[in-house]
């Protein structure tokens, strides 16, 4: 099949040569592949955006997962921000809280939009709805942001992986964070090359991250990994916009991520047989959930 870009280098070159935004190249490619019109494609993405917004709002009102393992942290962070004492700044914490909000809704079996997966669904909307307050984008620009992140995600999914079972958390939250960083750069007026730099810088700092969910649930440590994925994306975007570049080109970083995923032990790829899942507390939580179906006993464990 013929596509407009197979890797980040081709994507950036095309954007520069044709003087187009990455978002628009992604839309063009989607038109090519699906035979649908730009309007139809934009409408579908707008629906995804609305799902993301609803999930953020629901999470900020406070949710609890079925097990009781996660929920309520987004509210804690928002309340703390209101005190005005946040050391890392309210914009960053806003992104973190909204990423957490989305993943808390996901853990509660609520409706979310996978970006690129459900376990990593918090990062992209977390970053977007925080930056929204600063950059005041139109709805169309917000939809564009999703196409930009999608273009980078498309490259990662086809050249490496976006599955925790195949590549560890670096493939999920790592990809999500790098995608979000690239999207923010374009939204903030950065060049296509700067988007690629932001992607590379983020991904480099996510390499090696394993997928070790306690009791096999998309809760611990997934929710907090989404939080840090959002923070990582915000900082990397700022670095790229400041002119910082990655010594290792973006596509090579993606290649490294793929090979690291290949050599990662299956115990650390979504099987709940390694890492945090097999710590004494991780095992105790797992046992309690399997026996009782919920976390009545976990609460007594942690107190």
């Amino acid at each position: 099949m013929d596509v407009l870009f197979h890797n980040v280098r081709e994507l950036v070159e095309r954007a520069e040569n044709e003087n187009k935004k990455i978002a628009h190249l992604m839309i063009e490619q989607e038109m090519l592949i699906s035979g649908r019109t730009e309007d139809e494609i934009r409408t579908q993405m707008l629906k995804n955006l609305e799902v993301m917004e609803a999930a953020v709002e629901r999470g900020l009102n406070g949710v609890q997962s079925v097990t009781g393992l996660t929920g309520g942290d987004a509210v804690l962070i928002q309340n703390y921000m209101k005190e005005g004492k946040a050391l890392s700044g309210n914009l960053l914490l806003d992104a973190v809280s909204k990423a957490v909000a989305t993943n808390e809704v996901n853990a509660a079996m609520g409706t979310i939009c996978a970006t690129p997966t459900a376990g990593s669904a918090g990062v992209v909307p977390g970053v977007l709805f925080a930056v929204k307050n600063q950059l005041q984008p139109t709805k169309e620009q917000m939809v564009d942001f999703l196409f930009t992140t999608g273009a980078f995600g498309f490259v990662v999914a086809n050249n490496a992986s976006i599955s925790g079972a195949a590549g560890g958390c670096q493939a999920e939250v790592g990809s999500a964070a790098a995608m979000a960083a690239a999207g923010v750069v374009e939204m903030a007026g950065g060049t296509a090359q700067q988007s690629a730099e932001a992607f590379a810088i983020t991904m480099k700092n996510m390499l090696g991250l394993v997928c070790d969910p306690v009791a096999g649930l998309v809760e611990v440590p997934c929710v907090k990994r989404n939080a840090m994925g959002a923070a990582n994306a915000m900082v990397a975007a700022d670095m790229a916009l400041a002119g910082v570049t990655s010594r290792i080109p973006c596509d090579e970083v993606i290649g490294a991520m793929f090979r690291i995923g290949q050599s990662m032990s299956p115990n650390l790829k979504e099987t709940a047989r390694g890492g945090l899942a097999v710590t004494p507390t991780g095992k105790a939580i797992s046992k309690a959930i399997l026996e009782n179906g919920s976390l009545q006993s976990i609460k007594s464990l942690s107190h």
Partner: protein, 220 residues
């Protein structure tokens, strides 16, 4: 190229918590139902790899049953699919397996009712995307991304041409086609991916062609 659409990356809209274990599982269940052609009365679901390890926590079980009840990935009823299955007289059993499979998230679904039985192997490859890798013992590769027709037939000369002619008569364009057989002169399978959704009357006509034993479809 495994991922072709931007909506494979930004999407699907789904019930949490896992795109590969929940949304992918719902899609595998739904494709299996589509291929069976009706709602089964009994399903036996064998789970492999990470599916076997974590299916309860990820809601893989309720999602598979939801898919078999024809629910989409975002259908809120996935959460209560067990209750609904019981109401509709669909009995089910989950069997976690220890055997190693090529892909970590694999499910083998055996669907049954009074009229027949079918075995479908589905794999969830990430981000909610799936592939069907086996039907009734035949190896194949179906992404569910395009409408497809599966034709089980006797391995005789002319079968493939007759089916292709029938599709041409209805102006259905073939995008990709694979044929395979288990043994020469016995049962064979055609997998035909086409450009547009298939009308029931087309399937009906194909099923009337000599030496055709079974026809099923996946629409998108």
């Amino acid at each position: 190229m495994k991922f072709t659409s931007v909506f494979d990356i930004i999407g699907p809209v789904m019930i949490g918590p896992s795109s590969s274990h929940t949304a992918g599982a719902a899609r595998i269940g739904r494709v299996a139902r589509d291929l069976f052609g009706r709602q089964p009365k009994k399903v036996t679901i064998h789970l492999f790899g990470s599916f076997a390890e974590t299916y309860r926590g990820h809601g893989t079980d309720v999602a598979l049953i939801g898919g078999l009840l024809n629910y989409d990935t975002y259908d809120e009823r996935i959460k209560t699919s067990f209750i609904e299955a019981e109401k509709q007289g669909l009995s089910f059993e989950f069997i976690p397996e220890t055997a190693h499979t090529e892909h970590p998230n694999t499910a083998r679904i055996v669907l049954e009712d009074d009229e027949g039985e079918m075995s479908v192997v589905g794999i969830s490859i990430g981000g909610g995307k799936i592939e069907v890798s086996e039907v009734n013992g035949f190896k194949l590769r179906l992404t569910g991304g395009m409408p497809a027709i599966l034709v089980v037939h006797d391995d005789r000369a002319g079968c493939i041409a007759n089916v292709a002619n029938c599709l041409a008569m209805h102006d259905v364009n073939i995008a990709h086609m694979e044929v395979s057989r288990i043994e020469r002169g016995h049962t064979a399978l055609m997998v035909i991916e086409v450009d547009q959704n298939i009308e029931p009357k087309v399937l009906q006509q194909i099923s009337l062609i000599p030496n055709i034993t079974k026809v099923s479809k996946i629409n998108t």
